[in-house]
Amino acid sequence: MLHIINKSALSNGSFDSCLRTAESGEILLIEDAVYAATKGSALESKVREAMSRFKINVLMPDLEARGLADRVIDGVSPVDYGGFVDLVAGNKNCQSWL
């Protein structure tokens, strides 16, 4: 399953809820959720830990808009809009954690 998250994990619980309940699969961070993919934040260790269960992807146009495209945590996969479509098409189903 593909888990799509669009809220900042430092101010909203959806990323935490996803990690708590979902077993495995892929995560795609979009919109304000992309901050979780950046080095140096208080979330970095949590994200690195989650990488053992999930493949984590981040939507680059959203990270570029926020001025943090050069700080992606190693192991997080950058995707563009085409990659977003491939992720949705390549997974059996997806869940948007609104």
Partner: protein
């Protein structure tokens, strides 16, 4: 003007994902036109509003981050960032578009206490 009030704008939302940051800027500029004593505060995800190198071409929205650099042209020079919020996001003053005063949570609270009007975004 005789009755100048102290206005504080508290910005706590990340830019681009919601309209709050842009709307706050609009109201700040309006307030400045009335010659009030304006302070801008950036807390929590609000500190992301000031991040350098924002490039919104890919998401096809207005890159309003450049407006923060124009604020001193409107005599808005009191910009405050909470240290704890910056630290939690791995940001330093060098990452920010404009010169700011960095305050601890406690100092921020004291500053809030001095205001006549506090507007939250």
């Amino acid at each position: 003007m005789s009755d100048v009030k102290k206005f504080m704008f508290v910005n706590r939302k990340a830019p681009h994902g919601t309209i709050y940051a842009l709307e706050s800027l609009e109201v700040v500029l309006i307030t400045a036109a009335f010659d009030q004593d304006v302070s801008l505060v950036f807390l929590d995800d609000g500190v992301y509003q000031l991040k350098k190198a924002q490039q919104t071409k890919g998401i096809e929205t207005k890159n309003f981050s450049t407006t923060y650099r124009a604020l001193d042209g409107y005599d808005i020079e009191k910009l405050y960032v909470e240290k704890e919020s910056m630290d939690a996001r791995g940001l330093t003053e060098d990452d920010l578009l404009v010169d700011v005063t960095v305050l601890t949570s406690k100092e921020m609270g004291a500053l809030m206490g001095q205001q006549d009007v506090v507007l939250s975004f």
